[in-house]
Amino acid sequence: MPIVELLRVALEALRVNLMRSILTMLGIIIGVAAVIAMVTVGAGAQAEIDRQISSLGSNLFMVMSGARSRGGVRTASGTEMRLTEADARALKAEIPEIVAAAPTMRGAAQVVVGNTNWSTTIQGIDNEYLVARGWQIDEGRDLEPQEIRSGSKVALLGSRVATELFGAGNAIGQTVRIKNVPFVVVGTLVEKGQSSMGFDQDDIAMIPLEAARGRVLGRAGPRSDTVSVIFVSVAEGWMMDDVERQIAEVLRQRYRVRPGADDPFGIRNMSEIVETRAEARQVFNMLLTAVASVSLVVGGIGIMNIMLVSVTERTREIGLRMAVGAKGRDILLQFLVEAVTLCLIGGVLGILIALVITFGIARIAEWPVLLQWPVVVLALGFSGAIGIFFGFYPARKAAAKDPIEALRTE
């Protein structure tokens, strides 16, 4: 029988039991909608994570003092060390892959302008920092090397701080007081958005390291050039593991760490942290997709159930069709086409619902909508496959009927 006729018969059969058909489709509709929504929302979240990684500054290492602690306290006495600005310079000098090595200090302080004030993070930086972290100047200028050296009272403001203190007004040239020390704002920074940890990266004020060490944050350690963290950014295209090893080697030499002893410093790959979180998210996403797939399978079982009922109800029709010349294959195809049609209609409705859900979530969460057409096609194909898989047994049962018995059925 030509496929057009099979389709006509199938649609007619579905129309006769309209309510039943719709209820049967529901499992497929929900399953397909859930799978597509999950994958699409997941892709949006992934894009958001990628954006966060790039805002962090790509290929970034954080080098910190202190033993890396893995599941327990590890502070062997005598191994304590403090990183210095000299370490940062040494790293950059000795490892050619390093683009920038920025020693920093960090602390919290109140920033006051007239009668408004704002509590923010104060970052002591040198000229490497903006490069290392991928910050860009919005208005004004970067700190001059001369200002860094002399510890001038100049500051760069993150967009959040600038907005909180100056509103829409121009911050450049204004004086802010940090711990009662007046600083002149020389530049503002381009907005970076939330970090992967959920911190507002724009809530920051940057001042020369030397100035931070003075009355703002105080000295970080025994030596005058001690810093808390060195940010190291590596040129694109180099193996991060390799560079990490080199950094460790240089520092071990500088601090004369005996072979076999633990590193008295920690190196963390920042994009790795984000990626770990992304992986966790992906696992979660896969879990949800698996749950959605289960709903598809349950929907398929519903299809099988209804097709079995349909075959039983239409035994006489099957008998008659066989009597007038339908072969087993004709009957098999008829019921298979019916099951697949049921699933495909369900699949299309599921896709429509998924579109509504996806755009809804994307609008609320302000994620980019990444509708993935391959997934849509795949979901449609999958629902068709479910129709074939779960429709096959009932269809075969129909095709195997004995025409005499079937005709005799009341």
């Binding site: 029988m1 030509p2 006729e5 007619e12 006769v16 006489r316 029709e317 008998g319 008659l320 069709r321 066989m322 009597a323 007038v324 010349g325 339908a326 072969k327 087993g328 294959r329 004709d330 025409p403 005499i404 005709l407």
Partner: protein, 230 residues
């Protein structure tokens, strides 16, 4: 045209073997009008199913229109039914919610006849049974007699060599039954071979030849020169 040689059909029910057919040999020539009679359980329905290629014998040979069908596969039998046999049932067995025309087209669909030709042939068959103006009606909109006429048109549409009717008047009132038998006579006079299974003597009376079954055997094979006419 239709040859049955020593047909046997055994059914195994529990431990017992039931002999539904026990050595039946019949020859039917083209253009005959044959009625098959007998009490229930006499084997007449089994015989009918064999001749209609719905069933195969345990032993023996059936030849329909020169083709030995007793050893064919299921699918091959379906093809023979489609090309050579026209069935008429007591319960009509029309597809509900499907127009008379579509019902009649059904055998042509399985024969792979293209749509335009299907429609023409189905219309011709419906005209032949006097339902020219009821083609678009669904079974629920037709009387019992009209439904049986649709079923007869469906049986005729593939130009079968033999029309098999199983109690064709069983579900109809007697006046309508007479009309249906009249239609069979008319078709027979047009050259179609007709086999009617019935337990009603009046119905059998329209045939030229009566085959009587009992306990799986043919006990009488009578020619009726003075048959009834409607």
């Amino acid at each position: 045209m239709l040859v049955c040689e020593d047909l046997h059909k055994d059914y195994i029910v529990g431990n017992e073997t039931v002999r539904a057919l026990d050595g039946v040999s019949v020859r039917v020539e083209r253009g005959e009008f044959l009625s098959v009679m007998g009490p229930s359980g006499s084997g007449k329905s089994t015989f009918m199913n064999m001749v209609g290629c719905l069933d195969t014998p345990t032993r023996g040979r059936i030849v329909v229109d020169g083709e030995t069908v007793s050893e064919l596969s299921r699918d091959a039998l379906a093809e023979v039914r489609n090309r050579k046999i026209g069935f008429v049932f007591q319960q009509f067995h029309l597809l509900g919610r499907t127009s008379a025309l579509d019902n009649v087209e059904l055998p042509l669909l399985y024969a792979g006849v293209p749509r335009p030709e299907r429609v023409v042939r189905a219309e011709q068959a419906l005209e032949r049974v006097g339902l020219r103006d009821r083609m678009g009606h669904v079974p629920a909109q037709l009387s019992g007699g009209q439904q049986q006429r649709v079923a007869i048109a469906r049986a005729l549409v593939n130009r079968p060599v033999v029309l098999l009717a199983d109690e064709p008047t069983g579900a109809l009132d007697s006046a309508t039954g007479v009309e249906i038998m009249e239609l069979f006579q008319e078709l027979n006079e047009g050259g179609i071979t007709v086999l009617v299974v019935t337990h009603e003597p009046e119905v059998a009376g329209y045939a030229r030849r009566v085959l009587r079954f009992r306990d799986g055997r043919v006990i009488a094979d009578e020619r009726q020169p003075a048959r009834m006419t409607a």
